[in-house]
């Protein structure tokens, strides 16, 4: 029996338990596409390659195992770059399989001949070209190993058509699964435990490292023994439910900033002190910091840690558990909650009361009311991201996600993430809250969702503008000089209807909930386009504006 390179990839991915691969077809990768089909990997063919990489990224977040996508050579590759960069900055394990021009035609001016590996090198953990069909399983082992070991990230494997299409004798193999977990050294653990045990006003902040560690049990045991109020951010959100009695998500981002300013000990696990933490400046100098990270260069980055625990977040928490004392910080939590509510009093009132025009806070509250905490929420946009991240609550892992709040600030990932979410969790309602600006990037993926019968509800928070930019410009260069920031009223719901989905336009508060219910019941990919107050600014806008202010 013989097998070609493309089929060898299909065989490898099937043995590894990969269910989905995302991409767009192309002549250079024909053997690969046929191989995926042959071995029962479901290919989700999209309308732009950046969406394919984003879907693979989302698959990694929702499953905790690498997502796989395929790009054809040249423009297929360059279209995928935004998704790859986003996965890289988000530390997402994504395996990118990419076509290229034939080896036979190197330096002859072949169709789509370009140096892809050098272009992608700074955006991935590992990249190379496979020149030998026989070695494909070995190269894929390397790809998956690099994607998952240590701090995760995307990898890039280039496969020429004369390697993919070549037939060789079939052979058996077992993919290598590398499930190593590093544990911090004992002296650091004792030091960390001493700090935690002496805390009067502690706070636990968990990030994507908590999510990729998939450490619900370890985190729950640690939090409930120490009694530390906590917040889970980025891809760590939902490892414990947002409505856990010790979670401070009820007072949102404003509450987080306030809590950080008051805390005497901060345990930061799998989270970077990046610009969203003002590169560490938002943490008071008096607070003691216990840092848990799988990446050694993060431990003291932007803030010297009083105790640094190098290792997998779950393994570190498990090792800490016997060393920390049973404690109760309820009084501190009550103070935080009371103070937090005092600072977000207006937002709470906005959630409860109708306004005309519709306030985005109210829109999110109505959506939460309709879909509840059993849904998976994806948020996409500028101001929209703030309103969604603060307003939605879910009781599931990665239940409220936003890539636009990530390091790349990547707008447009909402719809691709929703499609992947529904594929991974077909039993769950998936809801996207998208800005009208963001919708434009990957709105055409509704076609993908219709063709593959992947229903979800997309709510467009339509303020007829690139809101965050518009409001920043109003602050910086003045209202009269706002430029390239207005979008106007557009009927995105009709675009979706035109592609075979369900669409409705909403302009009044009382119409929100019924429209969302109809969208849910349609069983189709649905778009509810809601006109909201164009004058509203989120607290994230001034933060964004200040971060880009220079002398």
């Amino acid at each position: 029996m013989s097998i070609n390179g493309g089929h060898l990839i299909g065989k490898y991915l099937a043995k590894r338990g990969i269910q989905f691969a995302y991409g767009i077809s192309g002549g250079h990768i024909e053997a690969l596409l046929d191989g995926l089909q042959q071995y029962g990997i479901r290919s989700i063919d999209v309308r732009h390659e950046q969406a394919a990489v984003m879907m693979a990224h989302a698959t990694a977040v929702y499953t905790g195992t690498p997502g796989v996508c395929f790009l054809t050579a040249g423009p297929g590759f360059t279209n995928g770059i935004t998704g790859i960069a986003n996965a890289y900055l988000d530390n997402a394990p994504v395996v990118v399989l990419c076509g290229r021009h034939p080896l036979r035609d190197d330096h002859k001016g072949a169709l789509q001949e370009m140096n892809q590996v050098d272009v992608v090198k700074p955006l991935v953990k590992w990249c190379t070209t496979c020149y030998d069909t026989k070695r494909i399983p070995q190269y894929l082992d390397m790809a998956f190993r690099h994607a998952t070991c240590g701090r995760p990230g995307p990898v890039f494997l280039e496969l020429p058509p004369d390697v993919l299409g070549k037939s060789i004798d079939d052979f058996d193999f077992t993919p290598s699964v590398d499930a190593f977990k590093t544990v911090p050294d004992s002296s650091s653990l004792y030091k960390a435990a001493e700090i935690i045990n002496s805390a009067k006003k502690p706070l636990f902040i968990g990030g994507s490292g908590i999510g990729y560690s998939n450490c619900t049990l370890e985190l729950q045991a640690f939090i409930e023994k120490t009694g530390i109020p906590f917040i889970l951010l980025n891809n760590g959100r939902g490892i414990l439910p947002d409505n856990h009695p010790l979670s401070i998500w009820n007072i949102g981002n404003v509450g987080l900033m306030m809590t950080m300013s008051q805390a005497d000990v901060i345990v930061a696990a799998g989270i970077r002190f990046n610009w969203l933490f003002q590169s560490g400046d938002s943490i008071p100098p008096t607070a003691k910091i216990v840092r848990i990270d799988i990446e050694p260069t993060e431990i003291n980055r932007n803030r010297i840690a009083d105790a640094g625990l190098l290792g997998d977040a779950g393994a570190a928490l498990k090792a800490l558990l016997p060393l920390v004392e049973q404690a109760n910080h309820q009084q501190w939590l009550d103070m935080l909650t009371q103070a937090g509510y005092a600072f977000i009093d207006s937002e709470i009132k906005l959630r409860q009361n109708p306004t005309d025009p519709i306030h985005p806070v109210r829109l999110v509250a109505k959506a939460q009311e309709v879909f509840g905490t059993d849904a998976l929420y994806v948020v996409d946009g500028g101001d929209t991201t703030y309103f969604g991240l603060v307003g939605f609550q879910s009781r599931h892992k990665a239940g409220v996600l936003s890539q636009s709040a990530g390091l790349l600030g990547c707008l447009g990932a909402g719809i691709p993430f929703a499609i992947a979410a529904k594929l991974i969790h077909p039993d769950k309602q998936v809801v996207v809250l998208s800005g009208d600006g963001s919708f434009g990037f990957n709105g055409f993926e509704f076609d993908t969702a219709v063709r593959h019968n992947i229903p979800f509800v997309c709510i467009v928070n339509n303020d007829c503008a690139w809101g965050m930019i518009k409001h920043s410009q109003e602050l910086s260069i003045g209202k009269e000089r706002v430029t390239c920031a207005e979008l106007g009223i557009r009927h995105y719901e009709k675009v979706v209807e035109g592609m075979g989905g369900y669409g409705e336009f909403v302009g009044k508060d009382e119409a929100i909930a019924p429209a969302l219910i109809r969208a849910k019941e349609s069983g189709k990919p649905a778009c509810i386009n809601v006109l909201t107050d164009p004058a509203v600014t989120s607290p994230a806008t001034p933060l964004f504006y200040q971060s880009l202010k220079f002398d």
Partner: protein
Amino acid sequence: MRFALLLKALAVILHIASKHNEDFKRFIGTVSIKIAIKTKNNKGRTFIFNNGTVSSTRSLKQYDAALVFSDTKTGFNVLKEGTQDASFYAAATGNLYVEGMAFFIQWFNDAVTIAMKKNRK
């Protein structure tokens, strides 16, 4: 009375900073925003930032965000202390809340901090 005087003094400091304090001028830029500091029964002052200028008024009819104290005594004590701790404890004990977006108040606090720093030199 002490609360009103403190707010008036703050208004003077911010106004002077808008003329002479380069850090402060850079910070406020061309921002157009109105912040009120007041009590629940509407005693206080509105600070108006408009395209690099700072003015104030006792009128409390229009503002983007307000820091609202339970009474003038609490307001005076918290503002005199001038620390995040003082604001936090006032909020945690139900003596202070924010009307409007809290970030605007944070922005105002940062502006006050910058104005105070330079004037202390």
